[in-house]
Every structure is written in structure tokens, then in C-alpha cells.
């Protein structure tokens, strides 16, 4: 009898430990991820943001802006994707594209990453220094140029285990490099 009681208590303890350890998973259903997991997730978010930034630049680059670039839909979703498709379509229609000078000073810094509780969405404060030029592809004529700083609030969401940019709001555009 005593032996059976001990066994039952042991099983209960194991069940309890398994249940408690489930909270450390980042499956979004069992509570907040552990600190180590959050750091890893933040690293994933930063990496995915870098990919989304590259996709935007590539899709706007000459000789023709390309709103159908696969990397764009691989790294963007929702309003951010719709907005950039609209912008690149307009660039394409106008015969304009984006280019960078030799020795470009472009630099992106992510000042803050704020993960939500279940690590399915991340809010980012981004500061970008860029000297990219908008130009007319047919003539090379520069339409817009100069060193400037763009501050944006951006949102990335996790879809199918991939982080994608879902929203991007320009907060300010300043002359020069001010990040």
C-alpha cells in the first residue's frame, strides 16, 4: 500500500514538472518565452528585418523597379507588402528607380525591438541613414538625392515560423545623418 502511494506521488510529480516546463516553449500558447529564447527571437527579428530591407532596395533598383520580386513577398506581408508593391509599381510606371553612389553611407540601426508576450509580433524603432538616389532610368536624371535620415516605426509578425515586415510608418525624415 505504501509502495503504491509513493508511486502515485512520483507520477504526479513528473506530470507537474512536465506541465510547468511547457511554459518555456515559444509556441505562443504556453505563456512568455524565457529570456534566452527572447534574445534568440530578437536576433531572428533583426535578421529578418535586414532581409526585408534588402528586398525593398532590390525591388526598387534599376534598370526597372520590380514589384513582383519574390524576395519582397518572402519578407513582407499585409500593409507593408501592399504599400511597397504600390510604390514600386509607381516607380516602374514612371520609369524611375533607386540607386546608390559609390561608397554609399547607407546604414540601418534598429534602436529598439519590443516583442509581444507570445513572441508573435515585434515592434521596432528603426533609424536609417541613406544617400540613395531616385533617378530616371532613360536619362539618368536625378529626381531626388541627398544624405538624409529616416526614422520609422515598424512591425514584424511571425508567419509560418518566418518573420515578415507587416507595417512601416515613417515618423520623420531629416537632412543629413542624425542616427
Amino acid at each position: 500500500m505504501r509502495h503504491r502511494l509513493t508511486s502515485a506521488l512520483g507520477i504526479a510529480l513528473v506530470v507537474l514538472l512536465v506541465a510547468c516546463s511547457g511554459g518555456d516553449d515559444d509556441d505562443g500558447a504556453g505563456g512568455e518565452p524565457a529570456v534566452d529564447d527572447r534574445e534568440a527571437i530578437e536576433a531572428d527579428v533583426r535578421s529578418a528585418h535586414e532581409a526585408s530591407d534588402a528586398a525593398r532596395r532590390d525591388s526598387a533598383a534599376g534598370p526597372s523597379a520590380n514589384p513582383e520580386l519574390a524576395a519582397l513577398s518572402d519578407t513582407h506581408t499585409g500593409p507593408a507588402l501592399a504599400e511597397w508593391v504600390r510604390v514600386t509599381t509607381r516607380l516602374q510606371t514612371l520609369g524611375m528607380a533607386l540607386r546608390y553612389p559609390e561608397g554609399s553611407q547607407r546604414a540601418v540601426s534598429i534602436d529598439a525591438v519590443d516583442l509581444d508576450d507570445d513572441a508573435a509580433e515585434a515592434s521596432l524603432e528603426v533609424c536609417t541613414v541613406s544617400d540613395g538616389e531616385i533617378y530616371l532610368v532613360s536619362t539618368g536624371q536625378v529626381v531626388s538625392s541627398g544624405l538624409r535620415t529616416t526614422r520609422t516605426n515598424e512591425t514584424m509578425v511571425r508567419q509560418d515560423e518566418t518573420w515578415r515586415l507587416s507595417d512601416r510608418e515613417v515618423v520623420a525624415i531629416e537632412d543629413g545623418a542624425t542616427c
Binding site: R56, R57, A60, R86, V87, R90, L91, T93, L94, G95, M96, L98, R106, T128, S130, G132, E133, I134, L136, S138, T139, Q141, V142, V143, S144, S145, G146, R148, T149, T150, E169, V170, V171, A172, I173, D175
Partner: protein
């Protein structure tokens, strides 16, 4: 006196996007004329479609109310007035204010931001006095009279922080004899 001058200028240009009392220094107002500006590009057909009458709903367009600045609070709102002022300055090109009905109206401005580079797509309505016509020997054979109204799509961009006219339609989107069309809408 200053207010009266502003009032006269407002009535002559009827640039609907200007806010009430902003004074732009002459150095900012003086710019290259459309002809001196970056070479016109044959974007006429393209811009007709992009900046046509149905374009306002497509993208971040600001169409200012008659007397007040746009209500937007984002970066576009801060640039709207600068774009209109720069376009007006290019049109004036340092000349005295023309007599009514000659005027420039900026009907709409749509902004695009590409990696911080700003591009403004304007639709303008310009009432002009018909100019002189010259024959091939350079003599004046006809002095025009009356006015023409032209509605155009234009592209402006920032170069070193200043708005400049990048492209202007070679062929206007629409043209009317007299003060008509977009000038009377």
C-alpha cells in the same frame, strides 16, 4: 502693408494649398524655371495615367482645402507646403506677379518615400496668357490674345533638401482655350 501684399499675391496666384501667413524668403522662392530645370522627359502618357483625375485615391495624396493647411500630422504634412511654395517659385521665376486670370494652382500632391528619398507627384492647373508666335525668320507674325488653361502632371524631388522640378509633361494632360476646364472647376 505686408498682409495686403500677401493678400494680393494670394488672389493672383490662387495657390489653394498655401497656409495663411507663411512668408518664404526670396532665396527660397527663386529657383530655376521649368525650362532651366532638369530636362523635360517624355512622361506624358505615363503621367496622364498616374496623375489623372482619378489618381487621388491611389496613394498618399494631399489635396489641400481652400484656406487652411492640410490636417495630416505625418511627414507628408510638413512637406506639402514646401512643395507648393517651391512649385510656385519655379513658376514665378522672379518675375512680377502676373495679372489675373493668369495663375498657377496646385490641385493635388502625392508623396512617395523610397529609402528616405522623397518624390512629389503634382497635378497643376495653369492659366497662361497666349504668347507671341514667331515665323521662321524670327519676325513676329502674330501676337496672341486671350488665355489658355493647361492641366499637367509633374514630378518634383528633393535634391540636397530642396524641392526641385524634375519632370514636367511635354504634352499637357488637358488643355482648354481661355480660362476654362480645371481653372473653373
Amino acid at each position: 502693408m505686408h498682409g495686403r501684399l500677401i493678400s494680393i499675391l494670394r488672389s493672383r496666384f490662387r495657390v489653394r494649398d498655401l497656409s495663411s501667413e507663411r512668408d518664404v524668403p526670396c532665396t527660397e522662392r527663386r529657383g530655376r524655371s521649368a525650362g532651366q530645370a532638369l530636362a523635360p522627359v517624355a512622361l506624358s502618357v505615363v503621367l496622364l495615367g498616374v496623375l489623372g483625375p482619378g489618381q487621388e485615391g491611389d496613394g498618399p495624396t494631399t489635396t489641400a482645402p481652400s484656406t487652411t493647411a492640410p490636417a495630416e500630422s505625418d511627414w507628408r504634412a510638413t512637406q506639402h507646403e514646401a512643395v507648393v511654395d517651391a512649385r510656385e517659385a519655379l513658376w514665378l521665376d522672379g518675375r512680377p506677379a502676373p495679372a489675373p486670370p493668369v495663375r498657377l494652382e496646385v490641385e493635388s500632391v502625392a508623396f512617395e518615400e523610397i529609402d528616405g528619398a522623397q518624390v512629389a507627384l503634382l497635378r497643376t492647373c495653369i492659366v497662361s496668357e497666349q504668347g507671341d508666335t514667331f515665323d521662321i525668320f524670327g519676325g513676329i507674325v502674330e501676337r496672341g490674345s486671350g488665355y489658355t488653361t493647361n492641366q499637367s502632371g509633374e514630378v518634383m524631388g528633393t535634391v540636397e533638401g530642396r524641392w526641385q522640378l524634375a519632370t514636367r509633361l511635354v504634352t499637357q494632360a488637358r488643355s482648354w482655350e481661355g480660362e476654362a476646364g480645371c481653372a473653373t472647376d
